[in-house]
Symmetry: C2
Subunit: 225 residues, 2 copies
């Protein structure tokens, strides 16, 4: 595996405990981010809050990772991309999204989510690039849910109508696969219907190919038994 | 103008004063976001910091905008998109980028920027969707620098190689214009060269067309004089 993946073999109970600690903590910082964009308190209060924020940052930095969070892999083999900019449990930039695989349709994922003031582009509207960010992630998760996770090769977005800030929904699904490539499609739905459509090609990284090929050979031979 | 634009006629000196207040404040919250992703302090300290963050949020929310920041327009006519998710001076989600129009080539913008732990996708790498977010913004600014700002119509991204977190550069320029549409292209450059290429179509919103058409008629008639 390349840099940034770490097999820490954490048991499920410890992962749950960490999620219960860091989830609410990160949510609190997300609220602070929203309040930072929207506050109208007076200048002295802004300066006073700034000094306290700086003190809190120093306390958190008293012990910290040298770089980014990466992906940790627990005892049951599931990855924790907790620093991820879209789904990261520990990342205040992430809304975060929680894409759910469709139990009836492998390779389809859906997600209800909310975007507030920190995701603005044109006034009152979601930034077009934030929609691209969301769709890159959920199309990638659809590819992964179909058994072939990958890095984005190409991504094409077609904007149908403005997307208002607020409650939104996204869906993504696999169109087809060919070797190590997966073609996925998806969209974001706002209060008046689909606002943006996306299609992308996701390519299984070279280092992961042997692992996936082996798993598929084993699955095929089990079917043959 | 549609909702969210507000002509507040602030004089330049007052805009500078606000930028000097909110710029460092928002930078402080960005540092807290980075520390939130990376901290390894013990659980009690995380809980203690969380309680203080919640108290600071309450102080900021004592007086706040009902919704997002939008775009304010000062006395000299320049817009302030301070809540914008890529360039917003008051938005901790924004890295922020400061795209600079090329003085020698109208419609070309460049920008050096830095992406840290909060912008991660694959371990140690920038999220592919964050690159789409950056490119949507700078291609849009190129269109605007050419005199025809617009909403994104389509955006296509081609990922050439992984983009490491750290110092990066982006450039965008206008390919051609036709009526109210502008075709723009651009890329992100990492330490080993171009990592992702983008092309997009930006469409001047209906409400802005009369304004731009009038400005161009006037400019053409001045040339004719």
């Amino acid at each position: 595996m390349p840099a940034g993946f770490e097999i820490d073999d954490l048991p499920a109970a410890e992962i749950d405990r960490q999620a219960e600690l860091y989830g609410p903590f990160t949510d609190a910082v997300r609220e602070l981010v929203d309040a930072t964009v929207r506050t109208t308190v007076d200048d002295d209060e802004v300066r006073a809050v700034q000094a306290e924020v700086e003190a809190l940052t120093a306390r958190l930095r008293a012990s910290q990772l040298p770089g980014s969070y990466g992906v940790r892999i627990g005892a049951e083999g599931r990855g924790r991309p907790w620093g991820n900019a879209v789904v990261g449990l520990r990342n205040p930039v992430a809304p975060p999204l929680r894409p759910v695989p469709d139990p009836d349709e492998p390779g389809r994922v859906t997600c209800d989510f909310h975007l507030g003031a920190a995701y603005e582009g044109p006034p009152t509207l979601v930034h077009g690039g934030v929609l691209a960010l969301v769709l890159d992630q959920v199309l990638g998760e659809a590819a992964g849910a179909g058994g072939r996770p990958g890095m984005t090769g190409t991504l094409t977005l077609t904007y149908r109508r403005p997307t208002p800030l607020g409650d939104l929904r996204t869906e993504a699904w696999i169109e087809r696969t060919e070797g190590h490539k997966t073609w996925a499609r998806g969209h974001v739905v706002g209060p008046d219907g689909v606002t943006v459509e996306a299609e992308g090609v996701f390519i299984l990284p070279r280092w992961a190919r042997a692992l996936v090929d082996e798993r598929e050979r084993r699955a095929a031979s089990e079917v043959g038994d």
